[in-house]
C-alpha cells in the first residue's frame, strides 16, 4: 500500500494503453505487406490459394481504390511500406516503374504470359494477372419504363434521351474510370475524345468514386446506365439484377491487374514467392473465375454474359502513355468537369 | 506578549494578501490566547473570510506569518496544520452516514474500530444528536447538519476550531439556539475558536473578543463590551448596533454645539470650532425621573415608532437640534408615557457612553 490509490489508477491506465498498442505487433510468420486495389470479394480466394502453397507467409492487405492506392504509394516513395503491389492497374505500376520503385524480376513461368500483358523490359518490373475491361450495366426494367433504348456504342450515350441516366466512375479515384477516359482519348483521338466526354458530361448524373458503384447503382435501378467493368457486372446480374451487359462497338477501355515487387522490400524472398504464385496456373484459374481474359491466354475460359470475341473488342492501350500522362489528363478532366456547376 | 510563559494559540503577524491588484488584507496582526473564542466581523468583502482561510492554509498569504502554538505554519498546507473547520454549507458528505461523516478524520488515523465508534457516540451525544448515527445528512434539518459538521470538526480533538459563517444558512430561531449551544460547547471543551460572521449580534453574543474588520484592515479588537460601548472608530460604532449621528461643532470645555443647543458631553480633545460627529446609541437617554434636573435635556416630535418586540424605537425630530434621533424605550414605557406618533417627547441624553469623532475621521 505504498503507492497511492490515485497513482495506482494512473499506472493501470498506462499499462492498458501499452497493452493495446503492443497487441497488434505479435507474429511469428513472415508478414508481407501487399498494397492492392482488388475487389474485397476477390481477395479471400486469392489469399487462400496462396497460403495453400506458402502457409508460412502471411499477407497483410492494404486495400483501397486504384486512385487512392496509387497516391499512397507515390506519397510513400521515399520510404515505401509495401513489399508487393498486387492487383493494381498496370497504368499505375508503369508509373512506379518510371519512378524506379520496382524490382526487375522474372517470375517462374514468365514465358507463358502473353507479351502484351507484361512489362516489355527483360526482366520485367511488373507482370499482368488478368484483364479487366469496360462494360456498361444497362437496367432493362427502368429502360423499358422510360422507353430508353439499349446503347450500342459509346457515342450513343451522348444522346439527349440518356440525360441524367448515366453514371460513371471518377477517373481520379477509380482505375476503371481512368481507363475509360484513356481509351476514349486513344480511340477517338484527343480532340474528338474530349468532345465526346463534353457531350457525355451533359448526360452524367454522378461521377462515383469506385468502378463498382456505377454498376451497383444501375443494378438497383437508381440509374439506367452504369459504366463499370465486367466482373462487377456479372456479379450484379448473378444476384438477380435486371441488367444487360453492353460492350460498346467502338472498343473497350481496359487495363491489367498486375503484380510488381517493391525494390526496397526487406522480404524479397517472400515477395518473389508471391510473384511466382501470382503467375502460376493455380492463380490464373482463380482469376479466370472473375475475368474473361487472364495473362496466360491458354488458361482463359469464357464467362457468362461476356461475348466470345471479348479480347478482340479491347481497344489498343498504350500503358506507358497512359501512365506518363496521368497527371495531365486528370487535371484536364477536373478542369472540364469538376469546376463547373453540377449538371442536373 | 513575548515574555508570556504559554505561547499564543494563534499569532498572525503582518499578514498581507493581494489578489492581483486588489488588496484583500493589509498588515494584519492578531494574537489569540488558548481557549479563547474570537469572532471576525465586518461587512462582506472586508477580508474576514480570507483571513480565516489563510489561517486554515486554504489560501496563501502574500506576505506575513501565521504561528500556531509556537510553530510557524505560514507555508504549511492545510493537512499539516492542526485545526477543525465548519463551513456555512455544512459540507457533509451526502453518501456517508452521519456516523461515517463524524468518523471521517478518525478512520484515516488508523485507530481501532471500537475506539472510533466510541468517539463517534461521544461526539454525537456532545452535539445533542445521539441517535443520528445511521441517518444520512439529507435526512437531517439544517441545524442538525451543522451540529454534525461541528462534531466532525471536533472529532480529532484539534487545538483550533475554525467556523466560517456557521449559522448564516439557518432560520432565525435555529440560529439563535445554536449560537448558545456552540458557545457552551466551546467553553466546555476550552477549544480555541475563530469564527467568521457578518452578523454583529452573533459576534457580540458569542465571543470573548471581537475583531471588527473593514476593507482588509482591523478596525478594532476588543471584548464585546469594549467594541459596543467604546467603539474606536465611527465605522465600528455604526456597524455594531444602532446609532444616531449628530453633526456638531466643538464649543470647548467639553461642550458641543448641535443646532441651537449646547450639549455638555464631557469629552475633551477638540479645539473650539472643530466640526465633529456625535455618536449616540438609542438607549443613551433618560425618559423617566426628574428630567428637569438633568443636563442635555431635549424635546422633539415623535415621527414614527418601530416595534421590535420587547423594545420600540422612536424616530424623534428635535427642532432645536435640527436633526432626527433614534430613541429606544421598552414597551411598558411606551404605554406608561403614552408615546405615540405625533406626540412630543421630553428626554435627556446619557453621555457616559457617547462617542465624539472629528468630522475628518468619518469616511
Amino acid at each position: 500500500m505504498r503507492v497511492t490509490t490515485g497513482l495506482r489508477w494512473l499506472s493501470s491506465v498506462a499499462c492498458a494503453a501499452v497493452l493495446v498498442a503492443s497487441g497488434s505487433a505479435v507474429a511469428q510468420k513472415t508478414q508481407l505487406t501487399v498494397y492492392t486495389a482488388l475487389e474485397t470479394d476477390q481477395l479471400k480466394a486469392y489469399q487462400e490459394g496462396f497460403n495453400k502453397v506458402h502457409p508460412d507467409i502471411e499477407l497483410t492487405w492494404v486495400r483501397d481504390s486504384t486512385g487512392i492506392i496509387t497516391a499512397k504509394i507515390m506519397a510513400e516513395k521515399a520510404a515505401p511500406k509495401a513489399d508487393v503491389i498486387m492487383g493494381v492497374a498496370a497504368t499505375s505500376l508503369a508509373i512506379f516503374e518510371q519512378e524506379g520503385m520496382l524490382l526487375p524480376y522474372a517470375p517462374a513461368g514468365l514465358s507463358r504470359i502473353a507479351p502484351e500483358y507484361r512489362d516489355p523490359k527483360n526482366p520485367p518490373t511488373w507482370v499482368g494477372m488478368d484483364v479487366w475491361g469496360a462494360t456498361i450495366c444497362f437496367n432493362t426494367v427502368e429502360a423499358a419504363k422510360r422507353g430508353i433504348p439499349k446503347p450500342e456504342t459509346w457515342k450513343d450515350l451522348t444522346k439527349p434521351i440518356y440525360k441524367g441516366q448515366v453514371v460513371m466512375p471518377h477517373p481520379a479515384s477509380s482505375g476503371t474510370g481512368y481507363f475509360d477516359v484513356t481509351a476514349w482519348l486513344q480511340m477517338f483521338g484527343e480532340a474528338e475524345g474530349w468532345k465526346f466526354m463534353d457531350g457525355l458530361h451533359e448526360n452524367i448524373a454522378q461521377y462515383m468514386h469506385s468502378g463498382s458503384r456505377p454498376c451497383a447503382a444501375a443494378a438497383a435501378g437508381e440509374f439506367v446506365v452504369g459504366i463499370s467493368f465486367e466482373y462487377r457486372a456479372n456479379r450484379e446480374k448473378a444476384r438477380g439484377a435486371p441488367i444487360d451487359l453492353v460492350f460498346p462497338k467502338e472498343g473497350l477501355g481496359w487495363d491489367l491487374e498486375a503484380i510488381g515487387i517493391v525494390k526496397t522490400s526487406t522480404k524479397l524472398d517472400a515477395a518473389k514467392k508471391l510473384a511466382d504464385w501470382a503467375v502460376s496456373d493455380a492463380a490464373m484459374a482463380l482469376y479466370a473465375n472473375n475475368f474473361a481474359i487472364v495473362a496466360v491466354p491458354a488458361l482463359s475460359k469464357p464467362l457468362p454474359n461476356v461475348p466470345a470475341d471479348y479480347a478482340s473488342r479491347l481497344a489498343k492501350n498504350d500503358f506507358a502513355w497512359a501512365a506518363k500522362n496521368r497527371d495531365k489528363i486528370l487535371a484536364e478532366w477536373s478542369k472540364r468537369y469538376e469546376s463547373k456547376a453540377a449538371p442536373k | 506578549m513575548a515574555d508570556s510563559p504559554v505561547p499564543d494559540a494563534l499569532r498572525i503577524e503582518a499578514v498581507h494578501k493581494a489578489f492581483g491588484s486588489f488588496v484583500a488584507l493589509q498588515s494584519i496582526d492578531l494574537a489569540i490566547t488558548p481557549g479563547e473564542m474570537v469572532c471576525f466581523v465586518g461587512p462582506s468583502g472586508c477580508g474576514k473570510t480570507t483571513l480565516l482561510r489563510i489561517i486554515a492554509g486554504l489560501e496563501m498569504q502574500t506576505s506575513g506569518r501565521v504561528i500556531q502554538n509556537g510553530r510557524d505554519v505560514s507555508h504549511a498546507p492545510p493537512a499539516a496544520r492542526d485545526y477543525g473547520i465548519v463551513f456555512q454549507s455544512y459540507a457533509l458528505f451526502p453518501n456517508l452516514t452521519i456516523a461515517a461523516n463524524v468518523a471521517y478524520g478518525l478512520v484515516n488515523r488508523r485507530r481501532p474500530r471500537a475506539e472510533v465508534a466510541a468517539r463517534v457516540t461521544e461526539l454525537l451525544a456532545l452535539v445533542g444528536l445521539p441517535d443520528a448515527g445511521t441517518k444520512y445528512p439529507g435526512q437531517l434539518s439544517g441545524g442538525q447538519q451543522q451540529r454534525i459538521a461541528l462534531a466532525r470538526a471536533l472529532a480529532t480533538s484539534p487545538s483550533l476550531l475554525l467556523l466560517d459563517e456557521p449559522l448564516s444558512a439557518l432560520d432565525a430561531k435555529v440560529r439563535e439556539r445554536l449560537r448558545g449551544e456552540i458557545r457552551a460547547l466551546q467553553q466546555r471543551l476550552k477549544v480555541t475558536t475563530v469564527m467568521v460572521t457578518h452578523d454583529q449580534e452573533e459576534a457580540l453574543s458569542m465571543s470573548d473578543r471581537v475583531v471588527v474588520m473593514r476593507q482588509g484592515s482591523i478596525e478594532q479588537i476588543g471584548t464585546p463590551q469594549d467594541v459596543y460601548e467604546r467603539p474606536a472608530t465611527p465605522f465600528v460604532a455604526d456597524f455594531l448596533g444602532k446609532v444616531s449621528v449628530l453633526k456638531g461643532v466643538s464649543a470647548g470645555g467639553g461642550y458641543f454645539r448641535v443646532g441651537e443647543v449646547d450639549l455638555d458631553l464631557g469629552v475633551d480633545g477638540f479645539a473650539p470650532g472643530d466640526p465633529v460627529r456625535i455618536y449616540l446609541r438609542p438607549e443613551d437617554r433618560h425618559l423617566e425621573g426628574d428630567l428637569a434636573q438633568m443636563p442635555n435635556r431635549l424635546r422633539g416630535q415623535v415621527r414614527h415608532i418601530e416595534y421590535l418586540g420587547t423594545v420600540c424605537l422612536a424616530s424623534v425630530q428635535c427642532a432645536a437640534l435640527g436633526q432626527t434621533m433614534l430613541v429606544s424605550m421598552s414597551l411598558n414605557q411606551l404605554h406608561d408615557l403614552d408615546i405615540r406618533a405625533g406626540t412630543d417627547l421630553d428626554f435627556a441624553l446619557r453621555v457616559d457612553r457617547v462617542r465624539v469623532f472629528a468630522e475628518s475621521t468619518v469616511r
Binding site: 497513482l7 470479394d41 453540377a342 | 492545510p78 439529507g138
Partner: protein, 577 residues
C-alpha cells in the same frame, strides 16, 4: 502523559503527516502534468503540425502562403467552399425551426406522451449520420418508395444538395432539440404571470418573453447544427451526388491524392467557421447563465385545447417521419434486392459483410467504443476533478482548461489530418502508434473530450466546494475523498459520460477515417466502403447494427443508473428534499 511524551507523539504524527503530504502533492502535480502533457501531445501538437504543414511544400520547405494562394485560385476548391456554406446554412435553416417547435411542444404545452416523443427525437444520436443518408436514398432515391413526393416541392432528384440537407437535418435534429429543450426549460414563470396580470395577449407573450428567453438557446443550437454540417463527411459522400463540399475535398486531397499540404490548408479553412461558431456559442452560453437567477420560479404550462392539439399533431408528424427514416434503413437492410426483390433475408448481415471483408469492423468498433467509454469517462472525470478540485500548480490549470475546450472547436476531419501529419512521421517516436487501435481510442477520446469535460465539471461543481477543505483539515488526502465521496456521488454522471463516449465511438467517422488501418477498420467507416462497393443493403445493415448496439447500450446504461439510484436512494432522495 508527560509533556515530553505528548511532544514526541506530536512529532511522530507530524513526520507521518509530512510523508502523506508529499504523496498528496505528488498525486496533484503528477496528475496535472500528465493531463497537460496528454492534451499537448494528442491535441495541440497535431493541430500545430497541421498549421505548420499548410505553409510547407511537399518536401517540407517553408513556402509561406503559396498553398493558400493555390487554394484560392483553384476553382474546384472555391466552389466547394461556397457549397459547404450553402449546405450548412440551409441545414440550419431547416433544422432549427423544426426543432424549436418540437421542443416548445414538449416544454410549454400539455400534450400527452412527452417522454416518448423526446426519446424518439433523440434516437438519431444512436445511429451514424450515414443511416439517414441511406434511408433517404431508399425513400427518395430514383427507386425511392416516396420519390413521387419530390415532385411536390419541385425537385427532380434527391442526390446533391436536397439529399445532404435532409439527411443532415435528420442527424442534427436531436442535437438542436436537446439544446432547445434545455433553453425552454429555463424560464421564469413570474414573467408570464406578470404579463398575464397586465393583460398581454398570448402572441405578445410569446414574442416578448418566450422568444427572447430562448434566444441564446436558439443561437447556440444554430451554431451547433452549422458546425456539424460544415464538418460532415459521410452524408455528402453517400448522397451528395455531384455536390462537392469541403469535407470531401479534404478527403480527396489527403487520401485520394496524398496531398497533405493542401489537406492542411483545407483543414484550416474548415476550422475557421467552426471556431467562429464556437466563439459565438461560448459568448452566448455565458449570457444565458446570467439570464436566470436562483429565485426564478419554474414555468409549468396550462392546458389549452387548440394549441395542444395542434402541437400534438405536429409532434406526431415529426415522430412518424423520424421513425420512417430510421425504419426504412432497417427495412432496407433485410430486403434481398432493392427494389426488384423485396423478399426478406439476413444475407446482408452475414454474407454481405464477409464478401466486402468488413466482418471484423463491427468487432473493432465494439472494442473501440468500450475502451473509449471506460478510458474516456475515467480520464475526463479524473481530469475535471484534478483541474477543479485540487490545489497547487495553479499556472497549469488555465492551460489545461483551454485545451480541454479546444476539441469542441475542432472538426473531426481537421483533428484526423492533424493526427496523420503528426503521427505518420517516421521521426516521431510516437509513430509506432500509427495504424493501431490505440491511436483510434486516443483520437476519439480527444475528439469528444470537451462535452464530457464540461459535463463532469458541472457535476463536480454541484458538489459542496468545501469537501476538499474539510478533508484537508481532517488530514485525509484528497484522493481518498475522491474515491469515498466524489466518485460515488457522481457515478451517474460518470456513467453518462461513458455512454456518450460509447455511442460517439460507434458512430463517428470524421476523425478516424484518416487513421484506420486494414486491421482496425470500424463499423461506421465500413458503411462507406460498403456503399462504395455498391452493397447498399449491407451498408444499411451495418448502420442498423450500430444503431441497435447503441440502443442496447443505452438501455443497459439507463438500467444501471436506475439500479444505482435505487440502491443509493436513501441518501439521494433525502439529499434532494
Amino acid at each position: 502523559m508527560t509533556a515530553t511524551a505528548t511532544g514526541t507523539a506530536a512529532a511522530v504524527q507530524r513526520v507521518r503527516a509530512t510523508g502523506a503530504l508529499l504523496q498528496e502533492s505528488l498525486a496533484v502535480h503528477g496528475g496535472l502534468w500528465l493531463l497537460a502533457t496528454g492534451l499537448l501531445v494528442f491535441l495541440t501538437l497535431p493541430l500545430a503540425t497541421l498549421l505548420i504543414r499548410s505553409f510547407e511544400d511537399k518536401a517540407g520547405v517553408f513556402i509561406g502562403i503559396a498553398n493558400f494562394v493555390q487554394y484560392v485560385q483553384s476553382p474546384a476548391l472555391a466552389r466547394s467552399t461556397g457549397n459547404t456554406l450553402v449546405f450548412a446554412f440551409l441545414t440550419t435553416l431547416l433544422t432549427i425551426p423544426l426543432a424549436f417547435v418540437f421542443a416548445y411542444a414538449i416544454q410549454r404545452s400539455c400534450i400527452p406522451g412527452k417522454g416518448l416523443w423526446r426519446s424518439i427525437a433523440l434516437i438519431p444520436i444512436l445511429a451514424p449520420s450515414l443511416l439517414a443518408a441511406l434511408s433517404f436514398i431508399y425513400l427518395f432515391g430514383n427507386q425511392g418508395a416516396l420519390k413521387f413526393m419530390l415532385g411536390w416541392v419541385g425537385l427532380s432528384t434527391i442526390y446533391g444538395l436536397p439529399g445532404i440537407v435532409l439527411a443532415m437535418s435528420f442527424a442534427a435534429f436531436p442535437h438542436a432539440v436537446m439544446i432547445l429543450l434545455a433553453a425552454l426549460a429555463l424560464s421564469d414563470a413570474r414573467l408570464y404571470e406578470a404579463a398575464e396580470a397586465l393583460g398581454t395577449s398570448r402572441w405578445r407573450r410569446f414574442v416578448t418573453i418566450t422568444l427572447p428567453g430562448a434566444k441564446y438557446g436558439l443561437i447556440s443550437a444554430a451554431m451547433v447544427v452549422f458546425t456539424m454540417a460544415v464538418s460532415e463527411f459521410g452524408v455528402p459522400k453517400v448522397i451528395g451526388g455531384n455536390y462537392p463540399v469541403l469535407a470531401i475535398d479534404i478527403y480527396k486531397q489527403v487520401i485520394g491524392q496524398q496531398n497533405f499540404q493542401m489537406g492542411a490548408v483545407v483543414g484550416l479553412v474548415l476550422l475557421l467557421p467552426a471556431v467562429v461558431a464556437f466563439l459565438v456559442d461560448r459568448q452566448v452560453r455565458r449570457k444565458q447563465k446570467a439570464l436566470l437567477t436562483a429565485r426564478s420560479v419554474p414555468y409549468s404550462p396550462r392546458r389549452s385545447p387548440v394549441r395542444d392539439r395542434l402541437l400534438l399533431a405536429y409532434v406526431l408528424l415529426v415522430a412518424v417521419a423520424m421513425m420512417a427514416v430510421m425504419g426504412m434503413a432497417v427495412f432496407g437492410s433485410f430486403v434481398k434486392f432493392w427494389p426488384y426483390n423485396l423478399s426478406l433475408t439476413l444475407a446482408h448481415y452475414t454474407f454481405g459483410f464477409a464478401e466486402a471483408g468488413v466482418e471484423h469492423a463491427y468487432r473493432n468498433s465494439l472494442v473501440l467504443a468500450t475502451w473509449c467509454a471506460v478510458l474516456g469517462a475515467a480520464i475526463t472525470f479524473a481530469g475535471a476533478y484534478w483541474v477543479e478540485k485540487t490545489r497547487g500548480a495553479d499556472w497549469l490549470r488555465p492551460l489545461i482548461r483551454f485545451q480541454a475546450l479546444l476539441p469542441m472547436a475542432v472538426p473531426g476531419l481537421v483533428l484526423g489530418i492533424g493526427y496523420i501529419l503528426f503521427f505518420n512521421n517516421p521521426s516521431n517516436p510516437l509513430h509506432v502508434l500509427y495504424g493501431t487501435m490505440t491511436i483510434l481510442v486516443i483520437c476519439t477520446v480527444i475528439h469528444f473530450y470537451s462535452s464530457s469535460h464540461l459535463t463532469a465539471m458541472t457535476a463536480l461543481n454541484q458538489l459542496d466546494g468545501e469537501f476538499e477543505s474539510v478533508s484537508a483539515s481532517l488530514k485525509v488526502p484528497f484522493y481518498k475523498t475522491f474515491w469515498r465521496v466524489t466518485v460515488p456521488v457522481c457515478l451517474p454522471t460518470a456513467l453518462d459520460i461513458g455512454h456518450y463516449f460509447f455511442v460517439n465511438a460507434m458512430t463517428t467517422i470524421s476523425a478516424v477515417v484518416f487513421l484506420y488501418s486494414p486491421k482496425t477498420t470500424l463499423a461506421a467507416i465500413s458503411i462507406l466502403q460498403l456503399d462504395e462497393a455498391g452493397a447498399i443493403g449491407s451498408a444499411a445493415a451495418m448502420a442498423s447494427l450500430i444503431m441497435a448496439t447503441s440502443a442496447i447500450v443505452t438501455v443497459i446504461t439507463l438500467g444501471i443508473e436506475n439500479l444505482l439510484l435505487r440502491r443509493t436512494q436513501r441518501w439521494r432522495v433525502a439529499a434532494r428534499t
